[in-house]
């Protein structure tokens, strides 16, 4: 603010709208390099490490998708497990009952989850706040009940994706790993591009004040709908990959609301409404899961930490870094830089979704 008041007396000051800077450009190049390097992990690393990294990628996808809804759309969903479960069971349905090649079945199942998000969105996107939260949850419950009715899908007791046993264990892990890495990269890229378009700006306007956004001509339902479908697709991918990583699923666990707990934890800890935050949150959760995931108090810890972040550090780890050092590694907004002066404003990376 000091620079803004300082420039008030200068009659004309040339300014430049800036999106990239050397740091963020460099980081993006490094990120591409990292993804390429990670693609070679199966060549050098143990099967155990591959499986763990696959889990991490799945967490990154889930966190990014939940953040897309809550952090950019103001939509707190506790029912994204619906799409995780739909895609996992969809892959079994296609691969097991219709002899589609397993990994193709998983891809199609993720797409189906995205398509199912359209009618679901038409129902729940009319709801606000807590009503939206519980509405999505009821939808997830309905899908879990419907799956449990179908004895061909193993009913309530669960089912294995037997078709995956045609691969050798090593190959299966490698294919799953690459699928997870590829899905994560593609989904994050789609989200990154989406948020940088005009739609990204309108989404944040919707989140901050839906009425005001609508009054200046923002198409509220369309914006929310696109986010909801992307999140459905992304959570679908996470679900199909979870199936490949676990080989066996049960309606109670794959449709479990605990997935929502994980998503909320990752996003709150990493930083809601920032692009980079959920990735950091996923890494934090990944470490916690590996260290204390077996203890009885695992979920108590997650819940307590999430509450603490929501109340005392609402911008999360990354949001706090952004506030303090004004860095952005993956810029989705703009910055106004006055020529001959310091950067003036941070136009993007809004206040937390919470206001």
């Amino acid at each position: 603010m000091s620079s803004a008041t300082g420039t008030g007396s200068v009659p004309v000051r040339r300014a430049r709208v800036q999106r990239w800077n050397p740091l963020s450009l460099g980081f993006c190049c490094a990120l591409v390099g990292l993804v390429v390097a990670l693609a070679f992990v199966p060549v050098v690393m143990s099967e155990n490490a591959m499986q763990k990294l696959t889990t991490l990628y799945i967490l990154v996808i889930m966190a990014a998708m939940w953040n897309a809804l809550a952090g950019y759309g103001g939509l707190v969903s506790v029912g994204q497990q619906a799409f995780i479960g739909i895609a996992a069971y969809g892959a079994i349905f296609l691969g097991h009952q219709h002899t589609v090649e397993p990994f193709l079945a998983m891809l199609l199942a993720a797409l189906i989850a995205g398509v199912i998000a359209i009618p679901v969105g038409l129902i729940v996107l009319n709801l606000r706040g807590g009503a939206f939260a519980i509405g999505t949850w009821v939808i997830a419950e309905i899908f879990a009940i419907l799956v449990a009715f179908d004895s061909k899908l193993g009913a309530g007791t669960g089912i294995s994706f037997l078709e995956l046993n045609f691969f050798t264990p090593r190959h299966l892990l490698e294919y799953t790993y690459w699928s997870a890495l590829g899905s994560t990269a593609v989904l994050l890229l789609i989200l990154f591009i989406l948020l940088r378009t005009r739609l990204g700006a309108s989404l944040q306007a919707i989140r901050d004040d839906e009425g005001a956004a609508a009054s200046v001509g923002t198409r509220v339902m369309l914006g929310k709908g696109i986010l909801f479908v992307l999140a459905g697709l992304g959570c679908g991918a996470a679900g199909a990959l979870t199936l490949a990583n676990q080989l066996f699923i049960q309606p109670d666990s794959i449709f479990s609301v605990n997935y929502s707990a994980l998503m909320i934890f990752m996003v709150l800890v990493g930083g809601i409404g920032t692009f980079e935050g959920p990735i950091i949150g996923a890494i934090v959760l990944f470490v916690i899961q590996n260290e204390v995931g077996d203890h009885w108090w695992y979920y108590t810890l997650l819940g307590s930490v999430a509450i603490a972040f929501a109340l005392f550090l609402p911008r999360g780890l990354w949001g706090t870094v952004v506030d303090r050092y004004n860095v952005r590694l993956l810029p989705v907004g703009y910055r106004l830089r006055l020529l001959g002066g310091p950067a003036l404003a941070k136009s993007e990376e809004p206040e937390p979704a919470a206001d």
Partner: protein, 294 residues
């Protein structure tokens, strides 16, 4: 005749749902937040009654006064500590913190009481039946349950409309800032509403536990039933909540009459249909109300 039976039992079942939903409805009405831990707090009430019965050997009914009073205090403290801060932080934050609470309560209950189902004994009221006609019989417990629901909702209604505290509550829900201007302590009003909400939730939890067994994962289920009752009945109306609970209960028992596994599904579907009909009505009238609703 079996259908009449299901409908009658559904009406009684609806009483518990209405009782469960009353607090949720009240908190939403006053604070505009949906407490996602509401069902879990009801469940805590049931477990507290279970512990009381185990230790004293008294009936579950004797557990009602101490448990409900205790949960009153819990609700008050919850508002004063966590919820008040959440409300200040933004509209979405209460959802996140109450969801965190739901996760913690479920986890702790599982640790303390194991995942095995528990139940509370409704006593002789639950085992006797009154034969109404050849095939229709009801139990005094069901009548008591519905009676308590109607009584609680009635008292709440009177409290809201006839007492000074109730007026303050309504004034605060309309406009907290203006209410403050005329000397109402809105934080105290919120804390009172939360205390009542959690206290009635615990009462509902105890009745729920006498009707069917419960386990540490029942909290979310009770939340969903309560929320469905509130939405079906229309937000912001206590008698509407009673109607909503009864519609939900009847839908479930009729579903179960067709096939026992349709019990939950039928309730969820009625809820969805109500949502869709509401959305259709709103979009039909959008030309005239857009400025208000947008």
């Amino acid at each position: 005749m079996t259908w009449v039976n299901s409908i009658v039992h559904g009406i009684f079942l609806g009483g518990v749902y209405a009782l469960l939903a009353a607090g949720l409805s009240l908190m939403f009405g006053v604070m505009r937040i949906i407490n996602l831990a509401h069902g879990s707090l009801a469940l805590v009430g049931a477990y507290a009654a279970y512990v009381f019965v185990e230790h004293t050997g008294l009936s579950a009914y004797a557990a009602i006064p101490p448990v409900v009073l205790g949960m009153f205090v819990v609700g008050y403290l919850l508002q004063r500590t966590m919820l008040e801060r959440s409300l200040r932080a933004g509209v979405l934050v209460p959802l996140l913190t109450t969801f965190g609470l739901l996760v913690i309560i479920g986890n702790l209950l599982e640790r303390i009481f194991s995942p095995d189902p528990k139940s509370l004994n409704p006593g002789v009221l639950g085992t006797t039946t009154w034969q109404i006609t050849g095939t229709l019989s009801i139990s005094p417990f069901e009548v008591l349950e519905l009676g308590v629901a109607v009584l609680v909702l009635g008292v709440l209604q009177l409290y809201l409309t006839r007492t000074r505290m109730g007026r303050e509550l309504r004034a605060t829900s309309e406009d907290p800032d203006t209410a403050e201007l005329v000397g109402i302590d809105s934080r105290a009003v919120y804390a009172r509403a939360a205390a009542i909400a959690v206290g009635t939730a615990a009462l509902a939890g105890i009745f729920f536990g006498m009707r069917s067994s419960f386990d540490p994962s029942s909290g979310p289920t009770e939340l969903i039933y309560a929320f469905e009752a509130v939405v079906i009945g229309g937000l912001g109306s206590l008698w509407g909540t009673l109607v909503g609970g009864i519609v939900l209960g009847v839908a479930q028992t009729i579903g179960a009459q067709i096939d026992p596994q349709y019990f939950d599904l039928a309730g969820h579907l009625v809820f969805l249909v109500v949502l869709l009909v509401r959305a259709a009505i709103e979009s039909g009238a959008i030309g005239s109300t857009r400025g208000v609703t947008a």
